[in-house]
Amino acid sequence: MVEILTDNWAFLLSGVATTVGLTIVGFLGSLIVGTIAAIFRVSPVVPLRLVGSAYVEFFRNIPLLSLLVLVTFGLPDIGVLLPLFWCGAVSLILSGSAFVCETVRSGINTISIGQSEASRALGMSFTQQLALVILPQAFRTMVQPLANVFIGVLIGSSLVAAVGVSDITNVTQQLNIRYAEAVFLFLLSGAVYLILGLGVGGAGSAVERRLGRSRIAGGKAVSR
């Protein structure tokens, strides 16, 4: 079994690299799109709120696999031809951003209304309120939920194997066809996900501890 590793290490590493790349692109994209969707959802403009809600409800409630198939085989039908990697990334972003949106929105909702009243009374625009006052405080409460979304994107990325993206799952499937060592190979890909996920969870806890120690968090505890 060891020779499966030694003979195919470059292939396996390319699979790991694809998984890591997909996860990072998928998560960062989700973060950006999801934050924009959340701003839509808390905006004072009703049509924007409706667009935000519709986006979240749509992409949160369809399976990632369906999205992947839609993006990979549906988009070419309307003339959009993306490289396979980006079909996976776009699907992960569409699905992940819906969850980021709800995380950011609930983070915003934990900030007392007095903070937004005070910033409005000082003449700040809606964007300034969010950027200077609300989001920096909301972020503290969002670290752990965002780490969960990251892990969700990581684990969800294994589905791209189904549409032919050569991520670690796809690579181990191909090796399984050649060597018929299903248990060993899926344990191997499982270990990759486990290690990456534990790393992200640990990083999330570390960020949270640092924020918890700062005087910022103390401010919240006392001023409420």
Partner: protein
């Protein structure tokens, strides 16, 4: 038009009515505040005095009626409303300092981002204001490290940093321990003496009596009585005001 701007009251309310669902919090309120005037807004809890105060800078939207600031009607939304709010300072019962910024940053934040004052200038001005409220040594502290009275003094400095034409105080001492009320009232008295136009919603009868030019007494969403502090406290006209004063002055 020019003439109306120079002679019009700084704040003018006509027929201001506010509903929360079916509850009528304000009932056709008329109120004029002249430049430099200090008006105390008194009344029992639920009489609508905080709501009235919050309608003036549209933190609360009046259901009906007109509100004019310096002769111009209050804008409905957007940039014009934000610009008007910058001219109308507000101090809240719960301070509402920004916990993730230092005291100095709290004060300089809006001048820098809303007024586009250069950072060095805004910071220098913030230090002056901190000294004025007696907290020069707290510039680099975070709000959580200050007492309630100190936080409220910072909040007053923060409102002053925008160089507002009128300051609204919404029960500024109601969340404070008794021993901290005086330090905040001292700052407010100093402000009143400096000529700032002020509307103060308060339960501090001493402040209303000695620092204000006029007292408005509210009941059930209306201003039912107004006059000089001396007249109101010694010879209240309405039964409602007599009842209110007898309840609070007995103790």
């Amino acid at each position: 038009m020019l003439e109306s701007q120079t002679t019009a009251p700084l704040v003018q309310l006509r027929g201001v009515t506010k509903y929360f669902g079916d509850f009528r919090a304000l009932d056709h309120v008329d109120l004029d505040i002249a430049k430099g005037e200090k008006v105390a807004l008194l009344g029992a809890s639920g009489s609508g005095k905080s709501t009235l105060c919050r309608c003036i800078n549209r933190i609360e939207k009046a259901t009906e009626g007109t509100i004019m600031i310096e002769g111009r009607p209050l804008p409905q939304e957007g940039k014009a409303l934000a610009a008007m709010r910058a001219e109308v300072g507000m101090v809240f019962q719960s301070f509402n300092l920004f916990p993730h910024y230092t005291v100095l940053e709290n004060i300089a934040l809006s001048p820098i981002h809303v007024r586009k004052v250069p950072k060095a200038e805004a910071t220098a001005q913030a230090r002056d204001l901190l000294a004025r409220v007696g907290l020069a040594d707290k510039a680099d502290s975070y709000p959580a490290e200050l007492s309630g009275g100190q936080q409220q003094r910072v909040a007053i400095a923060r409102a002053l940093a925008m160089q507002p034409h009128v300051l609204l105080f919404d029960e500024p001492t109601s969340a404070l321990d008794p021993e901290m009320i005086k330090e905040v009232l001292d700052v407010m008295t100093e402000l009143a003496e400096s000529g700032m136009t002020m509307l103060v919603v308060t339960h501090e009868m001493g402040f209303a009596r000695h620092a204000c030019d006029r007292v408005c007494f509210m009941d059930a969403g209306r201003i039912v009585e107004q006059g000089t502090p001396e007249g109101f406290f010694t010879r209240p006209q309405t039964d409602r005001a007599k009842d209110f004063l007898s309840k609070i002055l007995d103790h």
